[in-house]
Every structure is written in C-alpha cells, then in structure tokens.
C-alpha cells in the first residue's frame, strides 16, 4: 500500500500519512460512570482483525485532516476512504 487516496487531497504517498488505529471507538459519554472493565475495553482492547477493518488515518504531512479507511489487513488493499462522521460504505 504505497498510495492513499486522501478524501481532501487525492492520491498521495503513504509516508505522508499516519495511522490512527481502529475507527469508531466512541469515547464514553459519562466517563465517571464507567467501571474498570469498561475503561479497559475503551482504552486497550482492540479487534485487531485479519481481514477487512475500519481505521482512522491522518494526512499528517498534507492537509492534516483525519479520515476513515476500509482496508484489508491481510493484503493491505484499500477498499474505500470516507470522511469523519460519515457511515462506513458497505464492505
């Protein structure tokens, strides 16, 4: 995966981007009400899927905007990119 199609800038070299890990992990709305298990789940537990996974990426050396990506981690093929706040396109 050497080229990433930034939704704002178009196709750029992968080295311009930084990976932000699994997407759609929602920050707890009421942090004070969470128990330790729920915090561990939010902070540390990851799906770490071998296959199609939804991820956050940042165009760090470009427009510096965050966006989401549908990527197959078993072969590094990028299926789609979509903006923050948008629903993931069907896999």
């Amino acid at each position: 995966m050497f080229l990433i199609n930034c939704p704002y800038c178009g196709e750029r070299d992968q080295s311009e981007f930084s990976a932000g890990g699994e997407a759609h992990i929602v920050r707890p709305k009421q942090p004070t009400e969470l128990n330790d298990d729920q915090w561990a789940e939010f902070l540390f537990m990851r799906k770490n899927i071998k296959g199609v996974q939804l991820e956050r990426w940042n165009h760090a050396h470009g427009c510096r905007k965050w966006f989401n990506m549908v990527r197959d981690t078993s072969n590094d093929k990028i299926h789609a990119v979509y903006k923050m706040g948008e629903k993931p396109p069907i896999k």
């Binding site: 992968q14 930084s18 996974q53 981690t73």
Partner: protein, 417 residues
C-alpha cells in the same frame, strides 16, 4: 535421548558419509485427545511443550503449527538476547531467560550457537544519557550486569562507529551488557522440537486451527484442518495471530499486529563483533556467523498481517545505519523480510490464564520476544501445569489492563525493543 549428538556420533556418521542421520523429530498424525495442546510451533510454543514434558511430567501433549516449525517470527528475528530491562518485573522475566540461555545447548544436546558477544545501547541526546544511566543503575540493583561507557569507550569497544560530534545525532555514550549476545534462531526451534519429541510430545505441522470449542466457561478442544482434537487445556502462543485465535474463543485482547522488518547484507569478513543498538535513530546491527550484517528496522504504524512492511521504514533505518557506520556505505543488502508482531499497549508480554477455564495465552511479545524464548516457555509451562502463574510472570497477567498495573517498558526499552 535415543540419538544423542556428540563428537562420537559425528565421527561414526562421518564413516557413512552422513547419510544415516535419523530425523530429529517424528511427523505424527494427531490423536483424538491430549492432556494439553499448544497452538503455535515457534520457539516459545516448542519451549512450552519441552518444559511441560520435562518439568511437569505432561507428555501426552501436542504442538499444532499451521506452517512449519520455526517458520514464523522465530526464523525472522534478528536473534538479539539481552536482559537489561528497567522495571523489576521485566528484569526478573528476561534475566530468567538469559540464565537458561547460558546452559541451553547442553540442556537440549543441540548447539544453539549462543554467543555472549555483548549488546551495546547508544545514547544520542541528553535524555538518552539520563535514561540509559538510570537503567544501568536499575539493572545493577536487580543483579543484572550493566556498565555505562563514555564516547571514547564506545569507540574503543566498537571502532567502526562514527563518534564524530558533527553528525546529526552524535554518540554521547552507551550502555553495555556483556552477558547479552545472539543465538542461532532456527537451532532454538529445532533443538526444542527434538527435545520435546524425544519425551513423547506430538509436533503436528501443517495443521491450522480453525476454531476453539467452548462449553460454557471452559474449553473442550480445537477444530483444525486435520479434524477436531480434544483437550481441556489449550495454550495459545500464536504471536501476530494471537488476536485471530482469541476471536475464535470469543475473547478480545489488547493487541495490535504490525509488520516488523529486518534485512541482511551480503556476507563479508568479520567487522563487528558485538551487537549495537540505537533507540533514538532506530538502527541496530550485528554480524552473523556467515558474515552477513543483520539489521533490524522498525514496525509500521498500522495493523497488517502481510509479512512485508513499508519501504520508508527500511529507508529510515538504513539512513541511520549509514550515518553511524560510514564504512557500510557500499554494502549491498541481500534480503529483506517482515514478521507480524503482536504489540501490547505497555510493550510487555502477556503470560496468563484467561477467564475461560483451560485457555491460556502467551502473547504480546511485540518486537522483542526471541530473547525470552526459554524463559517464556518455562513460565508458560508452569502456568498451564499449575493453573496459576509462577511468581516471575504473575505481573504479566491479562488483568493488568483492567487494574491499570501496567509494566510500562515502552519508555524504558524505547522502540528497538
């Protein structure tokens, strides 16, 4: 051991032109049921089986491996062995392993070519100097040998390092652990496999796990490409694929799997007789017995199960290597490869029971698991046999991510881990 290796067996076999050596381990079909099954036939998994049989009298066990033994990260690492970790828990764990390494060739009757050539860690800025000196003191308090070297002493210990103050990241000193070194990684897997097999352990290769059968809160066996195998104890030592196996059992782990790259050069005459690591510029190098420079690069920042990695990571490492060792500027690189490492948020491993009865995980070794192979196997075997952790791996339980009692080696060991 029916086929003990010695100078006499070597001479005897020389008379028959080395055509009558027996195979080192059997190739059995899986039985219907075992007392314990180890998933993953790498160094850690085979060592676990070896110590289960040797120390805990569990010989009715199997190691299942989806490829061939030692074909994963065991055969892909840069073979560095050291125990100079900052925190007490890590120091205990890694030095336990190092002590086993020191007698491993004799214990296995298999030459793992353990070479205590020393590992030197370089400091390139004031914070590095402070961190490494602190680590040296911590190591000594834990009974681990460590010395601080100033720039001249670094140059004396490894003359090919560029210690000019004019380079981008000048060498301000370094630490040295003399007991540290390297070993031949393939031999570790083969030696443990041979030893375990001789005690009756079934090593089943080309057998991929497809599912884990649970009965409520306990395990019943594994579904594989060679059929269902029953067992009440399952130890998972699947490195980069730990999360994949965990998902089969309905378990989530705090891991991310990333490609870690390494490369070797063409073979040359002996030029570097130690291991030099630099965390700040992320380059580490040693020389194999064949004469190749063995160079470790970093991980990619994204999750991937492709055993490749990105080009820019290798490029960055080689830039750092060339600045530190200008003498290597005309070396040609022969091979580059990647292995999938499972990284914990605190860069420390998990050797632990889980809330599912009979299911044990040994994972999260990230970028530095090879050095721990014998200790990891020994402690994981203890944990499986007694259904409770040994005191040396008690801190490496899976619940630390809930309690917050992390063993944070990220800052301490930095990137080249």
């Amino acid at each position: 051991m029916k086929n003990k290796y010695s100078i006499f067996s070597l001479i005897k076999n020389a008379f028959s032109y080395h055509e009558n050596w027996q195979r080192a381990w059997r190739d059995p079909e899986p039985k219907k049921e075992y007392d314990a099954i180890i998933i993953g036939g790498g160094g850690h998994g085979l060592a676990t089986a070896f110590y289960l049989a040797k120390k805990h009298d569990m010989t009715n066990i199997a190691v299942v491996e989806k490829g061939w033994i030692g074909g994963g990260n065991t055969g892909r690492n840069t073979t560095i062995i050291r125990s100079n970790y900052l925190w007490d828990a890590s120091a205990g764990l890694y030095d336990h392993a190092l002590k086993i390494w020191e007698g491993l060739s004799q214990e296995l009757n298999y030459n793992v070519m353990f070479s205590q050539r020393g590992v030197m860690n370089l400091a390139h800025n004031l914070q590095d100097v402070r961190d490494l000196k602190r680590r040296t003191h911590a190591n000594r308090l834990n009974g681990i040998d460590a010395v601080w070297l100033n720039t001249e002493e670094v140059k004396k210990f490894c003359p090919i390092i560029n210690t000019s103050p004019d380079i981008r990241y000048p060498v301000l000193g370094g630490t040295l652990q003399r007991r540290a070194g390297t070993a031949r990684h393939d031999a570790v897997a083969w030696g443990y496999a041979r030893g375990a097999d001789a005690m009756g352990v079934d090593i089943i290769q080309n057998c991929e796990v497809k599912g884990i059968k649970r009965n409520g809160d306990s395990v019943e066996g594994i579904e594989t490409t060679k059929g269902f195998i029953k067992s009440k104890k399952i130890g998972v030592v699947a490195a980069g694929h730990s999360s994949v196996i965990a998902n089969m059992a309905g378990l989530k782990l705090p891991l991310e799997s990333k490609p870690l790259q390494a490369l070797v050069s063409e073979p040359v005459k002996p030029i570097i007789d130690t291991v030099v690591m630099s965390n700040a510029v992320h380059a580490y190098v040693s020389q194999s017995d064949k004469g190749e420079l063995v160079i470790g690069a970093g991980t990619d920042a994204y999750v991937s199960y492709t055993q490749r990695g990105s080009h820019d990571v290798v490029e960055g490492t080689l830039k750092a290597i060339l600045e530190l060792y200008p003498i290597f500027s005309r070396m040609k690189m022969l091979r580059q490869w990647g292995g999938i490492v499972d990284i914990c948020p605190d860069a420390s491993p998990i050797i632990s029971k889980t809330h599912i009865k009979g299911l044990y995980f040994n994972c999260g070794w990230g970028t530095g698991g090879f050095k721990a192979t014998p200790g990891s196997g020994d402690l994981f075997a203890y944990t499986i046999a007694n259904d409770e952790p040994h005191k040396l791996n008690a801190d490496f339980n899976i619940n630390r991510f809930v309690s917050g009692d992390l063993v944070d080696e990220h800052g301490a060991a930095a990137v080249a881990h």
